[in-house]
Structures are given as structure tokens and as C-alpha cells.
């Protein structure tokens, strides 16, 4: 039986199999982007706006910095397979929004494959599973 795929968090990204994207907002008052979404106030101190359009953020960007995690973090971290395996993380400057977004790297990308400026794109991957569900999250993938 195939498990049902569900986002690990609702409303933060699309799960389009071809072109998934992070879901952020653009302020209707000043144009400031936000991720995660703004809902009640704008981060710009000069902007009183309280309304925000949902937007798909750039699917591509460049690595600002990167690292890995060699020890299992404490809960609420959940290991994808039940057995801890180190993973790689990168902070990525999105192509158009002036935002840096943190994410794990998909697949077996290691820190040796990365440098500041490495181009990456957004993918959706499994974060962890239970008996019925596969919980999805955004990850970065090095552009070939």
C-alpha cells in the first residue's frame, strides 16, 4: 500500500511534482516579500499594511553558506528512516526576493559538493514517515 503524501507543514510550499515552490507573501503596501508568510503585519517598520498576496518564491538561488549535521538533533527532530544519518544544510539566497532561506540538501549531496555561490533549485522530498503518511518538506538540490 502506498502511503499518503502530506506536507510536514501546511501552506509553506507547493508539492507540484515538476516545479514545486516555497509559498511566501508579498506585501500589498510596500512589496516586501516574506517567508514564512506574513499574515497580520509587515516586517517593514515604515509599512502599516495588513494585507498580503500569496506568491510562489523563486525556485532557484545560490548558496550563501552551508554545513552538515553529524549528530542526531533532539526532538522534535524525527529521523527519516528511524536510524540517524548525517544530512547537509544550506542557506540559499533566492534569485529575486532578497531573502536567504535555510534548507536541507536533497539526496547524498555533501559539504564537499558546495561552495558559496553554488546554484541550487528547490525540490520536495520526504522529511519522515509514519505507518500511513509520508511527510514532505522543501530541500535544495545542486543544479547540474
Amino acid at each position: 500500500m502506498t502511503k499518503t503524501q502530506v506536507p510536514a507543514i501546511e501552506g509553506w510550499f507547493t508539492t507540484d511534482p515538476e516545479r514545486p515552490a516555497l509559498l511566501g507573501t508579498r506585501c500589498t503596501g510596500c512589496g516586501t516579500y516574506a517567508f514564512p508568510r506574513a499574515s497580520a503585519f509587515c516586517a517593514n517598520p515604515a509599512c502599516p499594511s495588513t494585507t498580503f498576496d500569496e506568491v510562489e518564491l523563486s525556485r532557484t538561488g545560490t548558496v550563501w553558506s552551508f554545513t552538515n549535521s553529524c549528530y542526531e538533533p533532539p526532538p522534535p527532530y524525527i529521523s527519516p528512516t528511524g536510524e540517524f544519518e548525517p544530512y547537509t544544510l544550506a542557506a540559499v539566497e533566492l534569485a529575486n526576493e532578497g531573502i536567504v532561506v535555510l534548507g536541507q540538501l536533497a539526496g547524498d549531496t555533501t559539504v564537499d559538493d558546495l561552495a558559496a555561490g553554488t546554484p541550487v533549485e528547490l525540490v520536495i522530498d520526504t522529511l519522515y514517515e509514519d505507518d500511513e503518511h509520508e511527510y514532505l518538506v522543501w530541500k535544495w538540490k545542486v543544479v547540474d
Binding site: T32, W64, F66, V100, A116
Partner: protein, 396 residues
């Protein structure tokens, strides 16, 4: 001497360690040491400001009252505050404001913590609205994840090496050898640091500070009151607790992302520079006036960032300072003569106070075995989660 100066009449610390006792005990021990150091009795204290701990239940959230009760209810006024790693400095700032406003003459500031083993974990329970909880669930991003991002950034931009980072640990371990309040009093070599297990590349276990139990306390008074009790007291010349300015374009714990710089240009002075900048402005002093600094070396690489943030050198030049021995006791501008977090480990609400304790001992010439000769002006700098940071300038 500035119109907004207050005096440090007494300082005290409970040694850092993994003692496993109730945090209140450490705070009370530190408070009693600070009172003795000031030559005052508990009954002389008019105001208590407590720096909170969020990992020790309700008593930790109301630290000012908790310590007051432990020392014995006596009807003094209290305040309690939490500001992540800057909690101690904010408590100090609250006490200073009370004194400068004329509401009291003498106050006691206390912070203490009992910490769990290993990584700092978020507060328990299912809390998907809390970014500090979510970053562990969605990304597995621990505190060392962020420290490592900054470390790698230095390597990519400025050619920092793992040897440079290790050299910071070697220096701080040597500084801490003679400090009776330090938890680790053992020399380490560059090779030992570099061959310790990788936690978050490029950082090794010995590049990252541990979590500790500990307590620190400061007796603060008006300059007038101080004159009646001592001559030439160490004084607080500035306390900065500024927030970032939008857009904050450096990713900070516990966030998933930075602000957007698409519509508003980033501020001229970045957040960590601004923390020290505000303190310098308040004190009417600059980096050229410093004799020493105590900075928040949550990781070895972060200490290098601070050299630039507090203006000891230009951006990208910190590696030269550590390589040349400038920041070693005996060098041009010693940093972390106490041994820093490398020798202490972090006891969050006590740590910013411990930095001020060290500067006080240094300025009095009482820092046996680690004394910076002729120290007259020192600065502290620290930064924590959710846009918190602090910088205190102590002068004599």
C-alpha cells in the same frame, strides 16, 4: 565620567560546571559573594533584577522574586526578564535605569542556570507555531548549524582556516587555566581541536561551547552611593541592548530565513556591529579606547566575527589578529581573558553578567593569572536568539 554612569560595587560567581543542582543555589551563592565583595548586607539591597531561565520551570520565569525569596523576603522591589543570551545584560540595564531614575540607590542583579546535557533543545510539547520548535522538526537545524554557517562563510569569503578557528580555542583554554570559576581548565592543542569529532562542518566538538550550570551576580549602585563605600569604583559606562534594523539580512537563530532586502536596502551597520556601536556611542568611547574585550564565543569562529563587530579590525581581518597573537593576554588587545565560553560553557542567564564580572576583576587588577596589565576600559558583546544582543562598556 558620564552623567549616566553607575558603579559596580560588587561581583560574584558560582563556578561553572555540570553540578546538577537547583539553579537557585548557584544564584544565591553568587549573590552572597557579590554582597561580600561590595561590603554590603542583603538588607542593604533595595531592588533585585533577575535574569530568567526558561528551562527550570516557573521559578525560572520569575527569577527576581525567586532569588529574593531564597535570600529572604524583605519587601524589596523586583523585576524579572528574559532576553535569551542577553538576559543578564537586560537585567543589569533594568537595575541601572531604576538607579538613574532615582528610585533606588543600590540593586542586586542575579542570573543562574541549570542546563540539560548536549544540544540545547526547544522547550517541550507540540508547538508548530514556534520557530524554535519548527526548525528542529522541519530542518534539523540545531544551534551549531547556525554557528557553522557563519564559520563556513568566513572560510569562503576571507580564507579563514580550521587552524584559525582551533587557535581561538587554544588561546581561550590557556586564558581559562587560572580562572577559578571556569569549568574547563586544561590546555588544548590545535591538533586536538581539529581531530575532535565534526559536529557541524567545519566546526569540531572543541570549536563549540558546551552548556553549563553557573550563576553570576552584580551589586550596582549610584555613583553617589558608591563614593560612600569605596574609592574609584569600576563603573558601567554603557549598556546596549538594541534590536536588529529591518531588513536583517543575516540568517539568525532560530529563523528559517532572513528579511527581504528587495524593497528596503539593508542598514549601513549590520546587527552585530550595531550592538557594539550603540554602546560606544552611549559611552562616548571607541574601539581605540579599549584595553580588553569579553565576547560571546559560542563557537571559535564566532569570536573572529566579534573582532570585526566590535571594531578591533576591519571586516575580513580577524584571522590576522588571532594569527599574530594580538588577542592573547599580553598582546595588543586581549579578548576573552576569562577563558570565554570555551572555558566556561554557556549558562544563558548568567553569561552576560559573568562577562561584566570578569571586566570588573580585570579593571581592579584582581584577575590573578590572566590579568591584562593596566586595564581601564573593557567591552562585552553577546548575541542570542530572536534578535537579542548586548554590549556593556565598563571603565575605571
Amino acid at each position: 565620567m558620564g552623567a549616566h554612569d553607575v558603579a559596580v560595587l560588587g561581583v560574584g560567581m558560582h563556578p561553572w560546571g555540570k553540578w546538577g543542582r537547583n539553579f537557585v543555589e548557584y544564584g544565591v551563592a553568587a549573590a552572597n559573594d557579590a554582597l561580600a565583595d561590595a561590603g554590603l548586607a542583603w538588607s542593604d539591597i533595595e531592588y533585585v533584577a533577575g535574569a530568567d531561565t526558561i528551562r527550570n520551570g516557573y521559578p525560572g520565569f520569575i527569577a527576581g522574586a525567586t532569588f529574593s525569596q531564597a535570600l529572604g523576603w524583605q519587601g524589596n522591589r523586583v523585576a524579572s526578564c528574559y532576553a535569551a543570551c542577553a538576559s543578564g545584560a537586560q537585567a543589569l540595564n533594568i537595575a541601572r535605569a531604576q538607579i538613574l531614575a532615582g528610585f533606588c540607590d543600590v540593586a542586586l542583579v542575579v542570573g543562574a542556570d541549570t542546563t540539560p546535557k548536549g544540544f540545547f533543545a526547544p522547550v517541550g510539547g507540540d508547538r508548530p507555531d514556534d520557530p524554535d520548535w519548527l526548525r528542529f522538526r522541519l530542518l534539523g537545524a540545531t544551534n551549531p548549524t547556525y554557528f557553522a554557517l557563519y564559520a563556513r562563510r568566513r572560510m569562503e569569503l576571507y580564507g579563514a582556516t580550521r587552524q584559525d578557528f582551533a587557535q581561538v580555542k587554544v588561546k581561550n583554554a590557556r586564558h581559562g587555566l587560572a580562572n577559578p570559576n571556569a569549568r574547563y581548565r586544561k590546555e588544548v592543542t590545535v591538533e586536538e581541536v581539529m581531530s575532535s569529532p565534526t559536529v557541524a562542518d567545519p566546526l569540531r566538538l572543541l570549536d563549540i561551547c558546551a552548556t553549563s550550570d553557573g550563576g553570576a551576580a552584580i551589586v550596582l549602585s549610584s555613583m553617589e552611593y558608591a563614593k560612600r563605600h569605596t574609592t574609584n569604583p569600576v563603573r558601567i559606562a554603557a549598556i546596549s541592548t538594541v534590536t536588529p534594523t529591518f531588513p536583517q539580512t543575516v540568517i539568525e537563530m532560530p529563523n528559517f530565513s532572513t528579511d527581504s532586502s528587495a524593497t528596503v536596502a539593508p542598514p549601513e551597520i549590520g546587527f552585530k556591529d550595531a550592538i557594539a556601536h550603540a554602546a560606544y556611542e552611549e559611552a562616548g568611547l571607541g574601539p581605540e579606547d579599549l584595553d580588553l574585550a569579553e565576547v560571546y564565543d559560542l563557537s571559535t569562529a564566532l569570536e573572529l566575527d566579534w573582532y570585526e563587530n566590535i571594531g578591533l579590525c576591519k571586516q575580513g581581518e580577524a584571522e590576522r589578529l588571532i594569527r599574530d597573537g594580538d588577542t592573547t593576554v599580553g598582546g595588543r588587545i586581549p579578548v576573552n581573558p576569562s577563558g570565554g565560553l570555551a572555558s566556561f560553557g554557556e549558562a544563558i542567564p548568567a553569561q552576560a553578567l559573568a562577562q561584566v564580572c570578569e571586566l570588573t576583576w580585570q579593571l581592579r587588577g584582581q584577575a590573578t593569572g590572566r590579568q591584562v596589565e593596566g586595564a581601564a576600559v573593557g567591552i562585552t558583546a553577546n548575541q542570542g536568539l530572536f534578535g537579542h544582543g548586548s554590549s556593556v562598556i565598563v571603565a575605571r
